[in-house]
Symmetry: C2
């Protein structure tokens, strides 16, 4: 019988009551002895609490130490889940990331999985046990504990599903699935029954926080069907998978927005080769993710170069960029944190013209000014004033008729 | 330079403030770059809190799961200690029991150390780092996490000191050292400057809770000098070591007492071979520690057999013993929890008569009735009424002149 992998997030495990409810759901999904691997996040705010404790003792805790500290959160929840399943009369065993064979590189706090050795998990499944795996963590060749960074438990779940050739990876969270827009901002937002990996990847990268882009990417590479659904009800959720008949449905699938944006503009840069490299290499070395980059064609021989980073990275970025200003002969470096991104995403867009124009018109009609624009094959993103995000999302949701049933 | 091993208990690490104070103490002890290994317990009540959480979800949590759960307590405190040491400007690294090479058997919740592989610790020490080891935990051949049971962190510390040939193992706690009696009961109790392994072992086994008998035993086997002292002041503490000139000092070194005692009496047992084995084998199989055993010589062909266990084991013991009553033809099984043990301990006693008589007389003078008596070579233990413990300890402390300076 095919293996099922389920992942439960921290809010689904925040209290003993909720852990019990999740355990009952796991047991129910085990009908006819189907092998199940359950991947768990840390309970509720555990991770934040541990970080708070660390910062009381060290301003800038070492990444290796922080990884070992934070890994305890998932270890606690996986043992509690295994105990609860046993209490309900089912054979179950907890495994840390290391025990589950999650081998990573040694980039602490943002480790990448280099291999998964599934032998222990397979042995436990063969013995008829429900296997509960601590998400978010792995182990290096030197037996040091690492964490996988943001979205780490999702990544653990999809990696386990891939290596075990599971029929499906279910991601349980506190929302019903993937919506055409954030329902807290656009009440008419509609849950999608299915979406392609590519579309989900763009939505996730542009601010939809339900599922992390890394997990989507891994699912796409290994062809793991992913279902995002709520652990608080029985609604069917959203299926993320491969080919979907494109021709017959709405070309725009969803609106993403992201207010975690800081913009930096390097003013009056000479228009000559090597400037961008000189600017962005130090940021790459410091592991700062640069998102939107816009450079306007120059007429006077100088140009303004703007780019965005996460707000938490702004100070670090400025510290790296300011010393370069002289070297690249920039006249000024400006920054702003009152911007946000709104994006429309849809695989169909690439072969159908007019989406960009329709997007810009919808924003203009609501007097939303566009600061920067970037596009991918299946996405158009505008930077706008942070205060106008809700209005922009609603305008686009309406303009692209996303409240209508799946076409 | 010789290696120093220090162990800090949970009360010394209960808050961020205390962790900082301990870190400063570690740094101070590092004068001239002396290599230091720091073994830590879980912060304050962490272990009890985790057990409480487990019991909310499972009445009788599985030992393997509980071990992995509880191990997170020490992992948290060792990472916090390493971060704090780094924050103070010192190279430091945290190691879990597994990373520190503590290999155990697979008796979960009470694992025994089978070997210590010191290579990682030695490598980190050679790199000039302070090594912080999570106490109480180890790993089996199958990579399962175990805990060492009560006194586990003391055992970790002494085992590390033994394998590293450390010059000393310092056990930091919330009292100033080993006293001639519990100072909360006998205000005139005096701190011992030194004591032999054998005496410490008897004191610890008979209720002195400062240091666990397992750690003392390990120290004795490997000849590791152990110093018990307070982490809250600079007082010198008590040195536990090998040969001490016996002839010139007081033969009785200390009074131990223990109220964690339950007594079971099997009444009217036929006086024939095999009865004791039939009774105690099932208890041994259930890992119940039987302490004092007393059987009175019989005149009528039957006898009463009494023994004591820890109070927490009483119900389990009765469940095992009651079904045997018929088999061994006992007429009744009685139990009591209102008893306590008081013991006098001293290496010199074995070669000097009269100690027992002096003990019984001291108790009789205060009208303390003796329920059972047992002796070892260097100890005499009486079971008395639990309500008379304080009086008995004071009487014995006075009778053996323990308030006088070390003789």
């Amino acid at each position: 019988m095919e293996i099922l992998v389920q992942k439960y997030g921290g809010s689904s495990l925040a209290t003993a009551e909720r852990i019990r409810a999740v355990a009952e759901r796991v047991v129910a999904g085990r009908d006819a002895g189907r092998p199940i691997v359950v991947v768990v996040s840390a309970m509720g705010d555990t991770t934040d609490d541990l970080i708070g404790l660390a910062r009381q003792l060290a301003e800038d805790p070492d990444d290796r130490e922080l990884d070992l500290l934070l890994s305890t959160g998932e270890t606690i929840s996986c043992t509690l889940m295994a105990m609860t399943l046993r209490h309900l009369g089912h054979e179950a065993i907890s495994l840390t990331g290391a025990q589950a064979g999650i081998k990573t590189d040694s980039s602490h706090s943002r480790a990448r999985i280099v291999a998964v050795d599934p032998s222990r998990v397979q042995r436990e499944l063969a013995a008829g046990r429900i296997v509960v795996v601590a998400g978010f963590q792995g182990i290096t060749e030197e037996f040091d504990i690492t964490t996988l960074g943001r979205g780490g438990s999702d990544t653990t779940a999809v990696a386990m599903a891939a290596i075990l050739r599971a029929s499906c990876c279910e991601i349980y969270t506190d929302v019903d699935g993937i919506y055409t827009a954030d329902p807290r901002i656009e009440p008419r937002a509609r849950k999608l029954t299915q979406i392609s990996y590519e579309e989900m990847l763009e939505l996730a990268q542009q601010g939809a926080r339900v599922l992390h882009p890394r997990a989507v990417e891994l699912g796409s590479v290994y062809g793991v069907p992913i279902v995002v659904r709520s652990s608080f009800n029985q609604n069917p959720g959203t299926l993320i998978h491969g080919e979907i008949a494109m021709e017959v449905r709405n070309k725009v699938r969803g609106i993403a927005h992201d207010t975690d944006v800081a913009k930096i503009t390097v003013v009056g840069v000479p228009d000559r080769p090597g400037i961008a490299a000189a600017l962005f290499q130090p940021l790459a070395d410091a592991n700062i993710s640069v998102d939107v980059i816009v450079q306007n064609a120059s007429v006077r021989g100088t140009t303004d170069l703007s780019f965005t980073v996460a707000r938490g990275d702004l100070n670090r970025t400025l510290r790296l960029v300011q010393p370069l200003a002289g070297e690249i002969q920039a006249t000024d470096i400006a920054s702003s944190t009152d911007l946000a991104k709104v994006s429309i995403v849809g695989t169909g867009m690439q072969h159908a013209p007019g989406y960009a124009a329709r997007m810009f018109r919808a924003l203009a009609e609501r007097n939303v000014n566009i600061d920067m624009i970037t596009t991918s094959e299946i996405r158009i993103t505008c930077l706008i004033d942070a205060g106008q995000v809700a209005e922009a999302v609603q305008a686009l949701h309406e303009a692209f008729q996303l409240d209508r049933a799946d076409l």
